[in-house]
């Protein structure tokens, strides 16, 4: 299956909405992480619009798909996608990170909003995905479990405990999408603690692993389709992305990992994104 022109338009439009929402949300919160979700927008939009079986109708169906944002600090983009799916009112988005808001600074499990897991501490998400995938297999459910992760998060040892277990249990219903942007809070990942070739690593751990251009929605869609064809192995899709993608002054800048744009910067960013 390849994307139809209409699907591609829809995904690209959604990714653009994610980027605009992220700028507005982080600007309104005056803190947060804009760079990551801008870079992840294309593969996240592809997942949410073309693959993840999560919508208002099946929200409470026990055998629907599950999603875990392992790199929970990038949740502004996740919240935008949940809003686009109708789970979060658009006007709620700018309450992100504020006192009393359901949109916590890092995701908190919320059955009504479609948030399947609390995250924020790096390394913990993939293990939970393994547990969800095991339960789905045990129950003989068609559930697919998707986990977003990142190159920085791959420095956590627990990721590799989970990777070992997922292959051991033949969790073909588990897919991890790794945002590989070579940036982490303190700077350049390759300089701080190089995780090296994650495709090779996951392959060595017994996974079906591929590298894709994380901004090529057709390639991402093809990788997600290939993951569904697996019958024995879990799948890892290493998405090479540019942090801050879509906003020229944020692209590839470690400084935009965890800093909010001020009003002027937000205006400039939104102007670029609305073209």
């Amino acid at each position: 299956m390849t994307l139809t022109d209409q699907q591609r338009e829809e995904i690209l439009g959604s990714a653009n909405t994610v980027r605009q929402d992220v700028i507005r949300m982080v600007n309104a919160a005056k803190c947060g992480h804009p760079g990551g979700p801008l870079g992840m927008a294309d593969f996240m939009a592809t997942l949410f619009h073309a693959h993840l079986r999560l919508n208002k109708e099946n929200l409470h169906a026990p055998d629907r798909d599950r999603f875990i944002l392992g790199n929970g600090h990038t949740c502004a983009g996740y919240y935008s996608l949940l809003s686009q799916k109708g789970f979060i009112p658009t006007e709620t988005l700018t309450e992100f990170r504020k006192f009393g808001s359901v949109l916590q600074g890092h995701p908190h499990r919320n059955a009504e909003l479609g948030i399947d897991m609390s995250t924020g501490s790096l390394g913990n998400g993939l293990s939970v995905g393994v547990g969800m995938a095991l339960a789905a297999k045990q129950n003989e459910w068609p559930t697919r479990v998707y986990v977003a992760s990142s190159d920085g998060e791959s420095q956590e040892g627990q990721i590799w405990e989970a990777a070992t277990a997922a292959a051991h249990y033949n969790l073909s219903n588990l897919t991890v999408l790794v945002d590989f942007n070579n940036i982490q809070i303190d700077g350049v990942m390759r300089e701080i603690m190089d995780v090296r070739d994650l495709c090779e690593k996951y392959t060595a751990f017994g996974w079906h692993a591929v590298d894709v251009d994380g901004h090529d929605v057709d390639a991402i869609d093809a990788a997600l389709c290939a993951a569904k064809d697996e019958t024995e192995r879990p799948s890892a899709i290493i998405c090479y992305t540019k942090i801050g993608k879509g906003v020229s002054f944020m692209e590839d800048k470690a400084g935009w990992h965890g800093v909010a744009p001020n009003d002027e910067q937000a205006k400039a960013a939104l102007a670029e994104l609305s073209v």
């Binding site: 026990p62 897991m117 293990s127 339960a135 405990e161 070992t164 277990a165």
Partner: protein, 329 residues
Amino acid sequence: MLQTMARELAPLHQGEPTKTATREAYGNALVELGAERPDVCVLDADLSGSTKTKGFSQAYPERFYNCGVAEANMMGIAAGLASMGKTVFASSFAMFATGKPWEQIRQSIAVPRFDVKIAATHAGLTVGEDGKSHQMLEDITLMRVIPGMRVLVPADAVEARLAIRAAASEPGPFYVRLSRAATPVVFSEDYEFKIGKGTLLREGNDIAIVACGIEVPMALAAAEELAASGIEARVIGMASIKPIDKEILIEAAHECGCVMTAEEHQIRGGLGSAVAEVLATNAPVPMAFCGMDDEFGQSGDAWDLVSHYGLDGPGLAASARKLLDSKLA
């Protein structure tokens, strides 16, 4: 005027004490639960023979997952299974079930309030010969401090089975602390265990001794010794450390005038601290804390160690006398 409530003594085991380890009772309770409830899953981290989850693994292999020597991952898997509607028991030795994966327990189990029961064996000094790397003396503290985490420390095999069944029937996270060593059976089979309730094991109004786990039979032995010199010690078993039974503690403080706690655990943060938190704000009385005083254990025979650290009957009796002296001073 203080109103004395009608008190009921817990039914105790009669005759020659049989000895069973609480981990044995845990293993049997799991097999029982497995038959009753298809939603119960069990995880272990390469210690199923020792933690006694092996019985479940043989009876229900499709619901048992040996996670290998990777406890952090095991706790994440437990959370994932629970998020899909399972009731999950996750086991290892107390050191590796609470110390190593504390953060995963907090973030992935307690924050989303998943139905995961961490049942840890080989807790405390009575691991014996394995020494300080395996003598977990900080786990009650580590688990008690996590919001929403309930903490149960059964005294014997009867109470262990009931505690496991109670934890299974109550949604949300629990920590159940179990022992390696065979210990005397204290309770009779008609004993009723309730989460949040302490049990009155012995009447007395001179001093109250509050104990959990293997220290319960030790406290009873200390009370016998004290009785020989005319001191009547009240003994309270406090398996439910969180939630704790405030009522029974406040009543004991009012009626006995001093309270001593006993646990094979660090003094700081454990049962003693939990009791002190209640009494300091409701019924402040002189207290003594028996446990490990800011030190690690060492290799040796389990019961030699218990004696060495003053946690056997004579050791507790000596501490009780000191507390009584300060109360009367």
